[in-house]
Amino acid sequence: MNAIPMRSLVRTLLCSVALGAFPLAQSDQKLIIEAGRIMTQAGPDIENGRILIEGGRITAIGTQAEVEKPWDALVLGGPKLVAFPGFVEAHTSQGMDRPNENIDVAPFLDIRDSIDPVAYFFEDCLRYGVTTINVQQGGNCVVGGRGMIVRPVGMTVEEMTVRPLFGMKLSTRPKSGKSRATQMQALRFAFDDLRTYLEDLVEKEKDEQGYAKREALFQGRDLEAEKAEGRALANATWKLEGLELIPRGALDERYAPLVELLEGRYTAFIHCNDPLDVDHALELARKHGLLAKTVLVLEDDCWKAAELIAEAGVPAVLEGSLTHVERDPITGVEKETFVPGVLHAKGVRFALSSEDPNTRAPAYQAALAVGGGLDRQTALDAVTKVPAEILGLGNEVGSLEKGKLANVLLFSGDPLSITAWVEHVVIEGKPVYERAKDLRNKHLLEGVQPPNTAPPSKADEEKEFEQGEHSDADKKDAEKDDKGNEKKDDAKDEKKEGGGR
């Protein structure tokens, strides 16, 4: 019998304690947020509203008449600002150092070893108002590792953690170097290999027990029945006898996470690039009883399989551009499809993501979705409510309601307008971002003189200009033309040669 590996035991303990046990360090400071309009995303907007925040959560929300301002509360906001719940990113592979592992099947990996707290991505999340982020392995894998849910504040991974060991990444999109056939072969093998391992383990245990029994009989000893220290495999489609004989700590680290996946411990994020990948992903999920915990990550033309996705009742995260362009191979005519429109029409629940580098901000994504024809509420849900539910945090984030975490944004105008900026970000009751103090944003907006340079002074300009003078003939022409002008120019002592018109 293997010695129970300490790390997996500790990890199991950690996991069981993990739910909701990673709050942002709090002070006793109360916070009041005032705004000309509060978009609660849980009912009608509140005009001239006020939010009271205590201990990191919203304890009261309503009009200024309804919510009293405690004398010891910090006040943030103003009548021109619009309050909005922090955006939720349902799936991303950014903010990591090299998100893809070379090994095909690596369920034992944990993203906490790869997250880079100082990555620009997290800085940008604050700028765009993304307050809850699900970071997962990259899609260039067969079975990737486990991800985690983080907040974009903190200098260490521990500070950033909202929920560790959340979600596992799989991919039916071929890993680089594989074709679709070999990718499916590898995926199939991952689960078959697991089955072989578990069956062998159970058989070995049974054999040992049988041997012990016979030995005892032979030696004339009484043998106490061994208690089963493990648990049976709790999966609807996997029939595996005898797993209860194996203590869970004895499972090899390389296989234990897959067992946990089968038992519904992790949400399976399956990466798809193609409607065929969607086919395969749903088939895989059904075969292994994972459908209830599956989320598809869609790129490219996966929208063609929208009916299949709706039928399976599985939510989706949209990566890739909102408008898919394809060229007919015969006629050469381009066809554009508005992807969120198709998904919504077929009844698929989806979240938008910030993968496209041209349209990173969720607010902008949602605005573009509205521009493409999606109704406003569905577009806003796709960056708040739906991703929150996908992450199992539907009761904590995604809207401004009493009892939920105080993740609040203050926009300078309507969040879907191009001219609106995120002015303030509050995460779990703590103000963490203020645009007025954001130096990088200032540079992007106003530009900055490069270091060790200065705009040329007037004297320098003239010198440069003189050096560039052409032949004498032209000079004479110039003087002739500008004889009248020259006098005027002399009057202004700065300008010299006949300037442009």
Partner: protein, 403 residues
């Protein structure tokens, strides 16, 4: 009405096919933005044939929408046949026009039209120092240049910086200069080519060569102020060079194209009176120079800065595609950087029209002008709104009723 239209047509030097409109349209919108005047709430625009017949308040219409703007004018569409659209046997080919190098069958035109751009300036590519003449044309209609042309010989195209010299290698002693081995190979040599061209024109040198004489004829028109000179100048240094050249040769009308860093030299811009065409706003502010290991910075408030300083400018989309890449999106981003809405609207309509001298026909919704209109589903330039209809020369090329 028709006399005005007819006289406008008669004043154009280039023969055009006259077009029939679709018939008469009446468009009713919650707001009409004529650009030449204040926005009209609950406005109506009436189209008669290919021209605008009336603009005013109230009434119903065949076509309904939330807002109407004039068709946009993009001074940089880049829909051409690539490097075949510019003659590269010499670095200075002022006499040649890009007209022959345009691919009117490309489906890019349709995409640009559906984003609201009805008039475009097509320029030769920037592989030459003086690349030739650009034309202003409509982005839709029959696939005949004669039918789409608004103004032939609209600008003379120039380019400064690393692009024009990028295809050249230093001449070798063993063979005469040819297409691959010739000057200019440096930025200063590019400037020299410019200087030489204008200097020779002023001196009348080399005019016995018929091609050179034809080139110089065009340059003389530029010097006389009959033809604007559009110089591509991305870097701060290039902006300065272009302005010094303008002042040196007293070129009356100069447009700085793709002027990424023009914002760094407000004094020079004001003093010289150049007009500026801004490139698209990239998400991180950087425009890469495709040839040297350099990039230039365009802050989001560049348009707002130019507006404040009173420098005439236009926004452009440069044929980019993708989310946030159209001309209307650029107007939105310019507003994000602080440009007021009216200025943003003008920067994609009347201001670019003025820069290339077609403001008599396009750029605003006024009686007698071409019926080029864009119908919106919401406030123009907001990402939550999109173009639902387009009229071009009075023809409904994008039908709002089917969307």
């Amino acid at each position: 009405m028709w006399i005005l239209a007819a006289s406008l047509l008669a004043s154009l030097p280039i023969p055009r096919l006259t077009l029939d409109g679709d018939g008469d349209w009446t468009i009713h919108a919650k707001v009409v933005y004529p650009v030449s005047g204040k926005p009209i709430e609950d406005g109506v625009v009436r189209v008669d044939g290919t021209k605008i017949a009336a603009v005013g308040k109230g009434g119903g219409g065949d076509l309904e929408c939330a807002a109407v703007t004039p068709g946009f004018v993009d001074l940089a569409v880049q829909i051409d046949t690539g490097n075949a659209s510019v003659e590269q046997t010499s670095e200075s080919v002022a006499r040649l026009s890009v007209a022959g190098g345009l691919d009117l069958f490309s489906d890019e035109w349709r995409r640009v039209l559906e984003s609201g751009v009805t008039t475009a300036l097509a320029l030769p590519a920037d592989f030459d120092v003086i690349g030739g003449l650009g034309v202003v044309l409509k982005t839709g209609g029959p696939t005949l240049l004669a039918a789409r042309l608004v103004k032939g010989d609209a600008v003379l195209r120039g380019a400064i910086g690393s692009q024009p010299s990028s295809g050249n290698n230093a001449p070798r002693f063993v063979e005469p200069q040819n297409f691959y081995y010739r000057r200019p190979t440096t930025r200063m040599a590019v400037e020299w080519v410019f200087r030489k061209a204008f200097y020779d024109t002023l001196q009348g040198e080399g005019a016995d060569d018929p091609e050179e004489a034809a080139n110089q004829a065009v340059l003389r028109r530029v010097l006389a102020g009959e033809l604007p000179l559009s110089i591509q100048a991305k870097a701060t240094q290039d902006v300065r060079t272009a302005i010094y050249l303008k002042e040196e040769f007293k070129i009356p009308y100069v447009i700085l194209d793709y002027a990424v860093e023009a914002w760094r030299e407000p004094e020079l811009l004001k003093r010289s009176g150049v007009a500026v065409v801004l490139p698209p706003f990239p998400p991180d502010g950087r425009h890469d120079d495709g040839f040297v290991n350099d990039s230039y910075f365009l802050p989001l408030d560049a348009a707002a800065q130019l507006h404040e300083q009173g420098v005439p400018f236009a926004l452009s989309a440069h044929g980019q595609r993708g989310a946030g890449a159209s001309l209307a999106d650029q107007a939105g981003l310019a507003q994000r950087g602080g440009l007021p809405f009216e200025a943003a609207l003008a920067a994609v309509t009347l201001d670019p029209a003025r820069m290339v001298g077609v403001q008599a026909r396009v750029g605003s919704i006024e009686v007698g002008k071409d019926a080029d209109l864009v119908l919106w589903s919401g406030t123009p330039f907001e990402p939550t709104a999109h173009v639902i209809g387009v009229l071009l020369d009075g023809k409904l090329v994008l039908d709002p009723r089917s969307r």
